[in-house]
């Protein structure tokens, strides 16, 4: 297995939410990604993240650290998708969610270009009663390209392991049983609670489930509706509906995500 000799190109990007006196305290540290507070309430915060620099170029190693305090909810919205350009790059997320906390991250497509080789690691550690909902869309090759290699690992624990999986795939190699001839693997991943599943969803042994679509195009996936339903289940035990606007002003073209290297950053 290839070991990437990359070192972080910048300080970690950090997002933290902790209980406060009237409203939650939010800590934001800009790294290669710039987090921006959209809204916060008595127990929840919504944060948008955008690229603060060209990403992901050869040798880039992005680290994102997330901390959700006990009883708090953090809603993360991607501003644009991510493109892993030719060369090797890595993207690592480490999230800790305190007791009863909630982490929701509606990720936009992560596209590995034809000559890109990208390593993703997502580590989610849930405290007692904590839960998370993650959207993860991995795309091998930009539109019309054949290629792109990814090594994407996810480890989620709550006391013991909930879900441990690692996808190693290449857009140039049709892998029957892995991705087949598909270039898009789109997933909604619920951890720490049981969302309303339908036949075909992966129902984990521990509380959690994965709705997953393999395809050729991200826009062909119907997972936006699954995200909405599973999100509603996660939030319905949090009291009255949140007054955070549910509009999604940052949603771009989901098939060809906004290119972070184009300099599209939050104002």
């Amino acid at each position: 297995m290839t070991t990437l000799a990359t070192t972080p190109t910048a300080e970690p990007t950090r997002i933290s939410v902790h209980p406060g006196e009237t409203r939650v305290r939010v800590g934001l540290v800009t790294g290669p990604l710039a987090p921006r507070l959209i809204d916060r309430g008595t127990s929840s915060a919504t944060v948008a993240i955008a690229a603060a620099q060209m990403l992901l170029l050869d040798g880039d190693a992005v680290l994102i650290e997330i901390e959700v305090g006990p009883g708090c909810t953090l809603d993360i919205e991607d501003v644009g998708g991510t493109v892993a350009y030719p060369g090797t790059s890595s993207w690592e997320v480490r999230a800790r969610v305190g007791a009863g906390g909630r982490l929701l991250w509606r990720g936009l497509p992560f596209v590995v270009t034809a000559d890109g080789d990208s390593r993703r690691r997502t580590e989610i550690v849930l405290g007692p009663g904590a839960a998370a909902l993650i959207r993860e869309t991995l795309v091998l090759g930009r539109h019309g390209e054949i290629g792109g290699r990814i090594d994407a690992g996810l480890t989620a624990t709550r006391t013991g392991p909930l879900l441990v999986e690692r996808l190693v795939a290449s857009g140039a190699f049709p892998g029957p049983g892995v991705l087949g001839t598909h270039r898009v693997i789109d997933s909604v991943i619920a951890l720490g609670y049981r969302p309303p599943t339908v036949p075909g969803d992966l129902v984990l042994e521990q509380p959690g489930a994965v709705a997953r679509r393999l395809g050729q195009h991200t826009h062909a996936s119907d997972l936006d509706a699954v995200w909405a339903a599973w999100r509603a289940t996660l939030r319905e035990d949090d009291g009255p509906p949140s007054n955070v606007p549910s509009t999604e002003p940052w949603t771009g073209d989901r098939d060809e995500p906004a290119d972070r290297a184009s300099g599209r950053t939050s104002p």
Partner: protein, 225 residues
Amino acid sequence: MTPSAGTVAMMLADARLPSGGHAHSSGMEPALLGGMPPAASAEFLALRARTTALVDAGTAVAAMRAVLDGSLIQGSGLAAVETAWAARTPSLAMRTASRDLGRGLLRLARRIWPTAEGIDALGGAPARPLVLGVIAAEVGMGAEDLVRLAVYDDIASAVAALLKLDPRDPVDGVTLVLGACASVEPLLAPVAGIWSPDDIPSLAAPQAEAWAEQHAATHRRLFRG
């Protein structure tokens, strides 16, 4: 008289073993019903060997070590191994198939090795690799042999099913088994060295998982998984 570990390994890999293995296709029937062309079988098997089969092989090794490490024998060790396996096996259909196989193998093992350490901690329907690990600990099987046994058995079951579902020269089937097993040979030593359940491999086969879920819901099937 105690049978040698080598004899036991051959017996466990023998399709004639009365443990219910003939009812399973190691994902081959789900793949074919899911639309995989039979011509892709060699690639499918090589990927099965390095994904699902290595998860199971690593689980068997971790289970064996949980039994051999006296501090873990009170059930908690094997329970942690099963939790680690389940976290790496997100498809309920695949977990059910493995536990179906595990139940059959455990029934046999309880007759032959009734006092084997750890056997009482397995419950009624453990995942198959846990039973393999307990047997391996009892008979003193080497870890690499255990890994090869787990991989070989999985692949051989898939090919036996392929010969029924897409009849062909049986010698071609033998070639497929040997090819898939050889393809993961360089990966086996690290798997054999596993002690902690955290180190069990976790390479995923998402398309096979989707096929397994579809297969579990169909009535047009010869095999259980």
